[in-house]
């Protein structure tokens, strides 16, 4: 058995490299969803189960707008406009709506109640999606088709990768990470968000309008979820239930990353993305449990998460 494994390695060393490329694209998608969830958790201290629904709605909206643009005869690059529009729409309309109508009423309640409000919202939105978009798979892949493929050499063979997955997804993820880091560290609003994440009482005592910051952060997180969904939509078919599997993965990322930590979310997403794609080659049976094993392993060593700050209770 060991000898066959070594053989496998010598045969598939190059393939291993390809797996890393795949893992990168997957990590990018995971990051886009998880970072929004983590940001929202950091400020609102609510584990937003409905984040997965926002992802799904973002994806559906992007596809719908894309299909509408195509029906107008707009060129293929208009698909990218559709992606951004969808994220803006969800972030600017649905986000504030949910925050103002629902979440605002339960701030300060017990954690479990806050969690369940978003769980209830998740259940409702699942059916709403079905009522709006039906159950048949919806697809709109203009943004992916627009850029075509890139051939990556592989021994004396070559492997076509879509430029979208190779460049656009990781590119947007890195840009998002950089923009977020800049926003949180260099702008006033960003620093206020960080202040609220670190110590809400102190921040409020300093005269920060926490309500405004929470509204802003939630809408922003909703927009990020929708952008994640929109980015995923060109490569995948949208069916009911896509939100449920996304959110459970994002939970794992948030807990592993450390609460409210965007760099942590990035690193965790990368670990999960690479871990998963390597598992597809090494041990496909473990593909599904990879994120959870990573999470358990990280928390064993660092109980506060990768980038989390250990909170010592003052007595």
């Amino acid at each position: 058995m060991p000898s066959t494994i070594i053989e496998w390695f010598s045969d598939n060393g190059l393939l291993f490299g390809l797996a890393l490329l795949d893992g990168l694209a997957y990590a990018a998608l995971v990051f886009m969803v998880a970072v929004g969830l983590n940001l929202v958790f950091g400020v609102l201290r609510i584990v937003n189960v409905a984040h997965g629904s926002l992802f799904a709605i973002g994806a559906y909206t992007a596809a719908s707008i894309g299909i509408f643009f195509a029906s107008l005869g707009l060129p293929m690059w208009a698909g990218y406009v559709a992606l951004v529009l969808s994220a803006l729409l969800v972030g600017a309309v649905l986000g504030p709506l949910i925050e103002k109508l629902l979440l605002r009423r339960i701030y300060g309640h017990e954690d479990v109640l806050q969690l369940l409000v978003t769980f209830a919202l998740f259940m409702i939105l699942e059916d709403v999606q079905k009522l709006i978009w039906g159950v048949q798979p919806i697809m709109q892949d203009a943004p992916m088709k627009f850029l075509g493929t890139v051939d990556i050499p592989f021994g004396d063979d070559f492997i076509p990768f879509t430029a979208y997955q190779l460049f656009v997804l990781p590119g947007v993820a890195v840009a998002t990470l950089a923009a977020l880091a800049w926003f949180l560290r260099r702008t006033l609003t960003g620093r206020v968000i960080v202040a609220v994440t670190t110590d809400k009482e102190a921040a409020t005592a300093m005269g920060i309008d926490a309500a405004k910051i929470m509204l802003l952060t939630f809408s922003f997180g909703a927009g990020l979820a929708a952008l994640g969904g929109a980015l995923a939509s060109p490569t995948t078919s949208l069916v009911p239930g896509v939100g449920a599997s996304t959110i459970v993965l994002s939970f794992a990322v948030v807990a592993t990353a450390g609460l409210g930590q965007i760099e942590g979310a990035a690193l965790t997403s990368l670990m999960i993305g690479l871990g998963r794609s390597i598992a597809v080659y090494f041990a496909p049976e473990f593909e599904v449990v990879v994120p959870y094993i990573i999470m358990v392993a990280v928390l064993l060593v660092r109980p506060q998460g990768l980038f989390g700050v250990l909170e010592t209770r003052r007595v």
Partner: protein
Amino acid sequence: MTPSDDRGAERRAGPKRPALARETLLAIIGALALVLCAWAIPWLKFVLTIALAKGIAVLGILLLLRAGQVSFGHSMFLAVGAYTVAFVAPGTPEVLLLLPLAALLAAALGLVIGLFVVRYRDIFFGMLNLALSMVIYSLLEKMYAVTHGTDGIRVAGLTFAGQRLEREVQEWAMFGIALTLAVGFGLLVRAYLGSPMGRALAGIKTRETRLEFMGLSARLVLLFAYVLSALMGGVGGALVAMTSRHVTPQLAYWTSSGELVFIAILGGAGSALGPFLGATAFELVRVYAAAAVADAWQMILGGVLLVVILFAPGGVWGILSSKLKGRGA
């Protein structure tokens, strides 16, 4: 009785006694109502048995909620109990053996997992439970040769104290066992929550540090509750398997765990009666919602949950007990 009189009476008798009376009264009414329902509407007997079984599992959620912890993976113990029945029943179909076995195995798993997760609090506690339940879910799904994957396993014919019963009688037997166990575990949890162990458990929610400075190990206190809750989860799962006679990995999926937490809040975390009120309400709402609008039942359930949290955070128990209180019972 004016409000001030009411308060005065309560102080003299201690606040516990009227609550106890309300709880007992409600429990008796509830049990009678269940029996009556099961008798009047035969198919509801099945739904109510499932509700009782889930109620027992939700008692476990209630324990952890008392410590301020939410397990978003508790249905893994339900699944362990259910799969124990499915695997063992072909060889040993005796219900009276299967139930303790399922309880034991679930408690053993609870001990192993508990030793790990009681070191964590809040979101980490919740998410670790979620992660571990997803691992168990994946195992049940992936080990196709053993578990038949998502197809699940049909539970073989069962015997009750050596007797193989007719369908109608067996349904009553299962209902009776579930009701008896529900009452038994309800009393157990009630006593436990009133004991120093239970009060210390509740202390984890408000002042965990103090526990340590009283010479107690908060982790040990939580571990005990965790194992007990796993045990009840196993019993609930075994009852679900014996009633529905078919088990699938779905039992361990995270939405099933969410459902258990949902039931706990719907019923109200204030009383050991809450889980059963919640489970009954949940199953009935689900069944009638599904019958009324087969493709939007989720929305109705979600709506009910929202209304309960926003307008009656005490859950069904909170509504009923305040009504009874209003009548001066």
